[in-house]
């Protein structure tokens, strides 16, 4: 219906994918404001590009592709500022945790911070394949690369994530 020009049909179509797209944007950017902007731009681009949508594809995966491209573009643009900011943050000693241990939310956040160990491409591949559970072919299509490239980056990403968890959360790694 949207393709036929009924723009009012766009909202129900994208509402289904609102939360998954926001979650993906957040996992790729690790920044709430940036994620909102990425998702907003993805919906905007999606509407503009509806005429080029291949109906044989999953609409959700197509949206993911647009969002991944947008996130990558933004990260490239802001990479210097981000590096400078992260450097400054690292230099500031983290305050001691007032609680005796991590609560669940902090552990989850730390686990997701393992993704910061990955390169941009590795993170994209890892998030799309292992968290969003796209298959290798769809992941390759979303990222505009070959399946072989996805496998290479996925292998590196999983190894880095395993090593990061082993280093940061040995109790989780040991299965305790």
């Amino acid at each position: 219906m949207v393709l036929a020009g009924r723009t009012e049909a766009f909202e129900p179509l994208v509402t289904l994918h609102r939360r998954p797209l926001l979650a993906l944007a957040y996992r790729l950017t690790r920044d709430r404001e940036e994620a909102l902007e990425v998702a907003q731009e993805a919906f905007y681009r999606a509407f503009r590009s509806l005429g080029r949508f291949d109906a044989s594809r999953s609409f959700r995966n197509w949206l993911f592709q647009i969002a991944a491209n947008e996130a990558r573009d933004r990260m490239r643009k802001s990479i210097r500022e981000r590096a400078a900011l992260e450097g400054a943050v690292r230099d500031v000693p983290r305050p001691a945790d007032p609680e005796a241990g991590h609560d669940g939310r902090e552990v989850r956040s730390d686990l997701m911070d393992c993704l910061s160990e990955l390169s941009a491409r590795e993170r994209e591949v890892f998030v799309l394949r292992d968290i969003e559970e796209l298959d290798i072919r769809e992941t390759a299509r979303a990222l505009g690369c070959s399946s072989a490239s996805v496998r290479v980056n996925l292998s590196k990403a999983r190894r880095k994530v395993r090593d990061a968890i082993r280093a940061r959360h040995p109790h989780l790694e040991a299965g305790r």
Partner: protein
Amino acid sequence: MNCRRAKRLMPLHAGNDLSARRMRQVGGHLDSCPACRRELEEYRRALGTVRSAARAEDAPDWSDGEWRAVVARAVEGGRGGRDRRAAVRGPVLRPRWAVAAGAAAALVVAAVMLVWRNTGMRPGPAVASRAAGEHGLGLSATAPRAGEQRTGSVVEQDVVSVTLVSQETGLQVVWFFRKDFEWKGDQE
């Protein structure tokens, strides 16, 4: 398959991302290697842990009002975008552009005529071009005098004409003389 090769393939094996043949090869090795089996379990546990953490994580979201604004922006912006692209693809001259283009062309023609008129090919006072008369050709080098404007009403055999052609510009100038025209210059 040895341990080194199996460990290289382990990350992909943990997510079932190897071809069936490779999966069988690694599986055969795992059956006989407890160390590699432990490593495989370690990968699977790590992936499961991160996946669970991701699912449980609070992702940002819009309020209902913000969401409606996002959709409205996408739709309105998208319409604008399509219009811009259409304008680029199909350059259609709108009426005001057509009028402007016509006016510009007329100005250019007038300018060219003025230049030609001032290049020293000024005809004599009795000259009328074909365009000035009713012969319908080319440029008017000068306006005919009041007397010559009646050329069309003169019977044709009463008129003598002389045509001059510029070899440089191709400009043709036709001189029309009345039958009773007297060239007084020769007599002086």
